[in-house]
């Protein structure tokens, strides 16, 4: 698949779904500790999200890195915007910034 087509698929996913996590494995069976950590944070916040398994699709696995100019997985997107990878998500969860960001973007979270 061409790079443009891959980018279009990514843009479509993050425009259609309010919270998207590009990850290794699935939310139920993460295949990497970093991906598992972000799933855990989102679950604790009670956030509904779409998990996309990059291991299932080599063009997305490579394309998402170029799309975000970010060389690692996982990658969290909220309302079409790149929030960060595992370290950033963990840090923002710990200091409450993630809950604030999600609320500001109109995403329902567990209080």
């Amino acid at each position: 698949m061409s790079e443009t087509a891959t980018f279009d698929r990514i843009k479509d996913e993050i425009a259609t779904n309010p919270v998207v996590l590009y990850m290794k494995g699935t939310p139920v069976f993460p295949q990497c500790g970093f991906s598992a950590g972000v799933v855990q944070v989102l679950s604790r916040l009670g956030v509904k999200f779409k998990g996309i398994d990059v291991l299932a699709d080599p063009s997305i696995r490579q394309g998402i890195k170029e799309f975000a100019q970010w060389p690692t997985i996982p990658q969290l997107y909220v309302k079409g915007e790149f929030v960060g990878g595992a370290d950033i998500v963990r840090e923002m969860y710990m200091n409450g910034e993630l809950a604030t960001l999600l609320r500001d973007k109109g995403i329902e979270i567990k209080e």
Binding site: K24, Q31, C32, G84, D87, I88
Partner: protein, 95 residues
């Protein structure tokens, strides 16, 4: 030169860090999916980096990590599979 040494050299040159800690965390990740696996000569694939540098001042978290990824792009394209990054300015770190 080991991967850790080459990362240290590049980060030191580019960021002039007041603190730089490079920890090889590869052993904890051996064998999981997406890991380079059998063809990879053990270790030096997962690192924890703790960097304190004035270069990070006024930059968002995402921007800080992109700076580090840019400096280490050769390592990330090659042997390094994952970096866990802690970035701070000297003020934030209380240094």
């Amino acid at each position: 030169m080991s991967v850790a040494q080459s990362m240290e050299t590049k980060l030191t040159r580019a960021l002039k860090p007041v603190r730089l800690v490079i920890e090889d965390d590869s052993a904890r990740h051996a064998g999981h999916a997406g890991h380079p696996g059998a063809g990879h000569k053990g270790g030096e694939s997962h690192f924890n980096l703790d960097i304190v540098s004035a270069v990070f001042a006024g930059q968002s978290r995402v921007a800080r990590q992109r700076i580090v990824y840019q400096i280490l792009q050769d390592e990330l394209a090659g042997p390094v599979h994952a970096l866990s990054l802690k970035t701070a300015t000297p003020e934030e770190a209380g240094l």
